[in-house]
């Protein structure tokens, strides 16, 4: 090896290679991919805490939505395969009344197809379904919610009726939180409304009878 080449190699190693090594070391991690769209992807080694869902973490002591309900069609590529009376022209809400009560549909007028994507509608857990939890955040929610993460996508769009007894098992925290708040609210009104009414009546009659009998 000539001296010239040695110096060149040394310079090469000193000036060019180290950054390349650094990148290579990180690249392996990056290549694995986290699937997240936020800082975690763009800032390697970010220590920011985030919930990774689905995957078991962040279940908050099992108080969250439990195992999803799996239907006949949940794993089908065409959820409506073999469904009688189904046709692309039939409105979704003719058959799926419980799914028409979420705030996306009711308040924002977002159509079913904007989230369930294309005909034929895939079962939610079909491997290639856009709503499959492994890609739901990216394929569906992120269309409108910039930076949606899997944790975000664990929000239940078609939320169960929070006060129904079935919700105690399917989504305990929702059930208990809503019941506690309802009892608090109803309790306050049940106590204060009659109390205030009686109070008003009492003062009214005290006033009628004249101040002296007001009880002072």
């Amino acid at each position: 090896m000539s001296i010239g080449r040695m110096i060149f190699s040394l310079l090469w190693a000193l000036l060019v290679v180290p950054p390349a090594i650094g990148q290579a070391a990180d690249a392996s991690g990056e290549m694995a991919g986290t699937g997240y769209f936020r800082d975690q992807d763009t800032v390697p080694g970010s220590l920011r805490f985030y919930s990774q869902l689905p995957g078991g973490e962040g279940k908050l002591w099992g108080m969250g939505p439990g195992k999803p309900k799996i239907r006949r069609s949940s794993f089908k590529q065409d959820a409506h395969e073999g469904v009688a009376n189904f046709g692309p022209e039939v409105r979704c809400k003719k058959c799926h009344i419980p799914q028409t009560k979420d705030l996306h549909y009711l308040r924002m007028g977002i159509t079913c197809i904007q989230c369930h994507r294309s005909q034929p509608v895939a079962g939610v857990y079909h491997y290639y379904s856009p709503l499959n939890p492994i890609r739901r955040h990216a394929y569906v929610c992120a269309k409108c919610h910039e930076g949606a993460t899997p944790s975000f996508a664990s929000y239940m769009v078609h939320e169960p009726n929070p006060i129904a007894s079935a919700t105690r098992n399917s989504f305990p925290l929702l059930y208990y939180a809503v019941w506690i708040m309802l009892i608090l609210a109803v309790g306050v009104f049940l106590f204060f409304l009659p109390y205030t009414a009686l109070w008003w009546i009492r003062e009214f009659f005290a006033k009628l009878k004249g101040r002296s009998s007001h009880g002072r």
Binding site: Y50, S51, G147, L184
Partner: protein, 277 residues
């Protein structure tokens, strides 16, 4: 006549300013919140259109919520400066503070007895039990509605710190607490402060900062007696506010009351059109 000192100082300018700010904020939050909650009904959509559609409505709601939380933080700082730290735990008690004490239990039972005509009206000091309740109800309400409101402020960011399904919970808790707060203010608070025969039609104490001395002798006799005994009654007296101010208080107060009742009535009338689950 006008400079006769017939009124008793009750609220400082800071109290009145905060109450005014709370009113304005609460009403903005109520209108925008109800508009969003009732957005699927024509009435709710109409309300939201006043603010230029739902996204503006939500934006105003979010900003008003932040302002309210900032107000709460400032109030907390104010409280810390008001506490007599030298005599600390004991200074929290006594007739001048809003901390619930044994007298309030007695006051409550006595008042209940009076409502049913069993005993005489209890002799309240500066704060009656329901006035303390009103104060603390704002605290508890703001805590619940504030925490869930912050969670809903930016749902994507929130779900970095907790599972996204917490937003389902947060929205319901936020909603119920807000309905509780509005229902309480628009019925119970308005009745107790303004529509009771002894306050009807309008009680301006929180706007003007003073209350009628004769009225105070009936509603807060212990307070007046204590001030008298301590020789502070003279300095606590004030002249009635000038007539233009009184008119202003009345007009402002009744605009707010009308708005509250309007929201309440229409919310109840439209409740059947809401899809909750």
């Amino acid at each position: 006549m006008a400079d006769e000192r017939t009124r008793l100082k009750r609220f400082t300018p800071v109290h009145r300013l905060w109450h005014l700010g709370l009113i304005l904020n609460f009403m903005i939050l109520s209108v925008t919140g109800i508009a969003w909650m009732f957005f699927e009904t024509p009435w709710g959509r109409g309300l939201a259109n006043l603010f230029g559609g739902y996204s503006n409505t939500l934006q105003i709601h979010r900003i008003a919520g932040l302002v309210l939380l900032a107000g709460l933080a400032l109030h907390l700082i104010y409280l810390l400066t008001r506490i007599d730290w030298k005599d600390f735990p004991r200074s929290l008690l006594g007739p001048e503070t809003l901390v619930f004490q044994l007298v309030d239990v007695k006051g409550f039972i006595g008042h209940l007895g009076w409502v049913f005509g069993i005993n005489k009206l209890p002799r309240f000091d500066r704060w009656s039990w329901w006035e303390k309740f009103d104060y603390w109800a704002v605290w508890w309400g703001l805590m619940i509605v504030g925490i869930t409101g912050l969670m809903l402020y930016d749902p994507v960011l929130t779900s970095d710190y907790m599972p996204g399904w917490m937003l389902n919970v947060a929205l319901w808790v936020h909603r119920i607490e807000a309905v509780l707060a509005m229902g309480h203010i628009f019925t119970i608070h308005f009745t107790v402060e303004h529509w009771r025969p002894s306050s009807f039609p309008f009680n301006a104490a929180m706007f003007d900062g003073t209350m009628d001395l004769e009225e105070a002798k009936h509603e807060h006799p212990e307070w007046v007696a204590r001030l008298d005994k301590e020789g502070r009654l003279g300095e606590a007296l004030a002249t009635p506010p000038p007539v233009p101010l009184r008119i202003l208080y009345f007009v402002f107060g009744y605009s707010i009351i009308t708005l509250g009742v309007f929201l309440l009535v229409f919310a109840i009338a439209n409740a059947a059109l809401l899809t909750l689950f």
